[in-house]
Amino acid sequence: MTLYNIHINGLTRTIECEPERLLIDVLREDLRLTGTKKGCGIGSCGSCTVLIDGKPRRACRVKMIDIYPSPSLPLQRGGRGSDSRFTIHDPRITTIEGLSIDGKLHPIQQAFIDCGAIQCGFCTPGMVLTAKALLDESPNPTRDEIKKALAGNLCRCTGYQQIFEAVEAAAKIVNRKP
């Protein structure tokens, strides 16, 4: 068992688990953040997508040890004095629960609602987070870029088209902001 300080959704949470434990289990079981879904368990469906340092990652394929390569790292490799609690690299995790701030939906979430991009909703958290990573990196994506970015997120209900439209609508709003 190892102690981890996880920076997640703007908070720091401390949990104890095996370094081999999968992030999806840490999220869903240990932290009770059940918005991250599990559709396949092998990295093929994208329902478990979360953002680690802004990049979409499959929580079902990421072990704690992959995020925190050395368990004692937070204390030893801080490099800024012996009592530093900071590591050189301190990954930030964002799950769907961390996207809306103070009950206000993120523009991507709002666009998903407005464009009818949600049916059963099981793919939605992963889709929204993948879309966020895309827009953060390229605020004005073409339809083809959107399709490519979402290629690892399966949806069985919508046929994707309204999801593309939602991402485009969100891009417009995000770009309008100063």
């Binding site: 953040l33 396949c40 368990g41 093929s44 996207l99 809306s100 049916q119 069985r156 209900c157 046929g159």
Partner: protein, 751 residues
């Protein structure tokens, strides 16, 4: 109006079954059969029981109630007893402190099987000396239907051309993104509540109560947010819930079962693979004189919904074309492959793939283009179908939708540009194709059409709404809320849709066959009418008597005779004060339908919808890869209660249809599924879908709520043939087996 469940879904707060957790909860996992067909000699659970953390192990003999269940024929074992009939049969369930322990312990169970020769195709199962899979039956045919109309021989005599063709489709996985999951929690006094993601809580309750040996009233099913169903979250999730209920009552602890994707694909039922033979006679005028259709479906070992799945293609076997002389024989046959059941379309994607491919073949032989040939044969207002049903009472809109689709795609021009076997400079073939269908709405004469709803207006004028059919992710809640709001002139934000709870509202029949909006909506309208009647005495006091009744609009109730009005909230408060409760049970019963089993004659469905989908594609000559670039779908829906959601249904149906047409196939090897997860069972991705245009044609139907009919399924049945026809126009080769994979195409254009 936006989806009522959108915010919780987009913020991750919506609770699917696996997101729930109960105090003292334990976990259970299945052990599946190692053989497609075998006798179980003995089961040794000693080693598994000894594993730390294991709480209980049950096998078939521990099922306290009925051992076999099923919606139509009770032939499926809750847990196998002495024989297994496919590799997805469950032999034992292990309950443990964690799911992981349960799965590891299951591997330690030793089952002594005596393998029997399996029946791995319908052909083997129909052979005269084939083993019979179910004791007490005379053969392996689990269900069959027939239609006899006119005189086939005379029809052929009057024909200039007679032709035939055979087609084949594959096992298809529903691939709902949420694998089966449920939690059973014991309640005081022998009762048990099961929370789970199922399409039809009432059939789950029937199965769980029967298997647990409890009266219906002691089993309560609460539907959690459903992560997709498409017809697939019924039989399997029901037995999964039954096993959880049995364990929970034995242990006195909540039990969760959440399947891995592999367990889900291994055990759950699939779309029936069909073999279809079409034969037709066409007169010199390019009109059909006769048609013969034979369909054989692989039902796997259990009946499930097989009769419905083959009955629909029986009723719709000619497609939307008038044929005076028809013979149709359909049958579902038991094998030791994975069992098959309901899946979006109920047999129609398979049959429409064959029928509409065949129509293009007929057109070419008759020397007509696909549009002109269809135009000559289309149903018209008042046509008698091959079941003897006169098409009246609704608009026969097939020509209307087809014309619209072809125009939108620019079919005429593009049809002239098709490659027809000549590779273009860019190394591809180009083609366009389309398909048309008509579809009976709801269950038809094979089922019982009814539904109920409860409307309970609270003292502050807000409302609780319950409906006997369930949200399947398609937006049913939203549609029901919209209908109630419209009927009572209420603000939809003041209506709370209560997820189906079997201990409250009466059974509304399954949410299948695209019937949810139609039957649920009608039940809601009936409840609203009753509410209005209940409120009448109070309204008389408040705004005076009215012989014409009162108008409920925009939050107020008006008396049309004296123009007095009162706020809805105030009227409701007045009712409650005088102990009049605006609480009503709405019921709806479908109009009369009929069916004669011997001749296949009757008014099979009370109304029909019509659709046409057209597509444009290229086939890569070197790789055989098909790229569909554009799809136009035109569907007649009666009335779209929520157009944005209806269009979402169309897009979803097209994408699933493309999967059926081009890529999806569950492969069995000696009865065991080879592609058990989504890396090997591929469904369409974002980069696979074309640009789609959906057009909804509204011809309000007298039977539907506000004129609405149905939509979910017709959108899914047309792509197979539209793609096959376009691939033909591109490559000059006719592919008769779905899915039309790149390998199949390569084998043919180079072979």
């Amino acid at each position: 109006m936006k989806r009522v469940d959108a915010i919780e879904k987009v913020t991750g707060r919506a609770l699917y079954a696996d997101d729930m957790r109960f105090d003292r909860m334990c976990h259970a996992a299945p052990l599946h059969s190692a053989h497609p067909h075998a006798v179980i000699r003995s089961i040794d659970t000693k080693a598994a029981r000894a594993m730390p953390g294991v709480i209980d192990i049950i096998t078939g003999c521990d099922v306290p109630g009925t051992k076999q269940v099923g919606g139509i024929i009770a032939d499926q074992y809750v847990i196998a007893t002495d024989r297994v009939r496919y590799c997805g049969d469950v032999v034992a369930m292990v309950a443990a402190e964690s799911a992981d322990i349960a799965r590891r312990a299951a591997r330690l169970i030793e089952v002594d099987y005596k393998p029997l020769p399996p029946l791995l195709s319908t052909e083997e199962a129909l052979a005269p000396d084939a083993a019979i899979l179910h004791e007490g039956r005379k053969d392996n045919v689990i269900s069959s239907f027939r239609v006899r109309r006119g005189d086939i021989k005379r029809g052929y005599k009057a024909s200039r051309i007679i032709l035939d063709a055979r087609f084949q489709t594959s096992f298809v996985e529903h691939a709902y993104l949420e694998p089966e999951s449920c939690i059973a929690a014991p309640e005081q006094g022998r009762a048990v509540t099961v929370y789970g993601g199922m399409q039809h809580p009432f059939s789950t309750r029937r199965v769980a109560a029967a298997a647990a040996g409890l009266p219906l009233s002691f089993v309560r099913i609460v539907q959690t947010t459903l992560g997709g169903g498409f017809g697939g979250k019924d039989d399997t999730i029901s037995v999964v819930c039954a096993r959880a209920a049995i364990l929970a009552t034995r242990l006195g602890r909540p039990v969760k079962i959440t399947y891995t994707r592999e367990e889900s694909i291994r055990e759950s039922y699939k779309r029936h693979p069909f073999e279809l033979a079409y034969k037709a006679g066409i007169g010199a005028d390019g009109r059909f004189r006769a048609m013969e259709v034979d369909i054989t479906a692989d039902s796997g070992p259990y009946c499930s919904m097989s009769p419905f799945v083959i009955w629909r293609p029986t009723v719709q076997c000619t497609g939307p074309y008038a044929v005076p002389n028809v013979r149709c024989d359909t049958k579902a046959v038991c094998t030791n492959n994975t069992f098959t059941g309901a899946m979006r379309g109920f047999g129609s994607p398979q049959h429409v793939f064959a029928c509409e491919s065949f129509i293009d073949v007929c057109a070419e032989r008759a020397g007509l283009d696909p549009w002109e040939f269809r135009r000559r044969n289309f149903f018209r207002q008042g046509t008698k179908t091959h079941t003897g049903q006169k098409l009246i009472g609704h608009k026969v809109a097939i020509a209307q939708v087809a014309e619209r689709a072809l125009k939108e795609l620019g079919w005429k021009k593009k049809w002239a540009l098709c490659s027809r076997g000549k590779v273009r400079n860019d190394g591809t073939y180009y083609g366009v194709g389309f398909a048309c269908s008509y579809r009976g709405v709801s269950l038809g004469a094979e089922g019982n059409d009814f539904c109920s709803s409860i409307v309970n207006i609270q003292p502050d004028g807000s409302a609780l709404l319950e409906v006997g059919v369930s949200e399947n992710g398609q937006g049913l809640k939203t549609a029901m809320v919209a209908i109630l709001a419209g009927e009572l002139g209420m603000n939809p934000d003041r209506i709370r849709f209560v997820d189906t709870d079997t201990s409250s509202v009466p059974d509304g029949g399954p949410t299948v066959a695209s019937r949810g909006t139609l039957v649920g909506g009608n039940a809601v309208i009936d409840a609203a009418d009753k509410i209005k009647r209940i409120m009448r005495p109070a309204l008389r006091e408040l705004i005076g008597p009215s012989r014409k009744g009162y108008l409920f609009k925009a939050g107020r109730i008006r008396n049309p005779e004296n123009r007095k009005s009162v706020a809805f909230e105030d009227a409701v408060a007045a009712c409650h004060r005088s102990r009049i409760y605006p609480y009503a049970l709405g019921v709806w019963k479908g109009p009369r339908v009929s069916w004669d089993e011997d001749t296949g004659q009757g008014d099979a469905y009370f109304t029909y919808v019509y659709g046409c989908q057209a597509c444009e594609l290229t086939v890569h000559a070197k790789t055989g890869k098909v790229r569909v670039s554009r799809v136009v779908a035109v569907h007649e829906v009666g009335k779209a209660v929520n157009p944005q959601m209806a269009i979402g249904q169309v897009f979803g149906g097209i994408a699933m249809g493309l999967g059926f047409a081009l890529m999806e196939e569950i492969r069995h090897n000696d009865g065991m599924i080879e592609n058990l997860n989504l890396n090997t069972y591929r469904i369409p991705r974002s980069i696979d879908v074309p640009e789609m245009t959906a057009i909804l044609v509204e011809n309000p139907d007298p039977v539907g709520p506000w004129g609405a009919k149905s939509l979910g399924e017709p959108t899914n049945e047309l792509m197979g043939a539209a793609v096959a026809n376009a691939v033909y126009c591109a490559t000059g080769k006719r592919f008769t087996k779905a899915p039309i994979t790149a390998d199949q195409i390569l084998g043919d254009i180079h072979g």
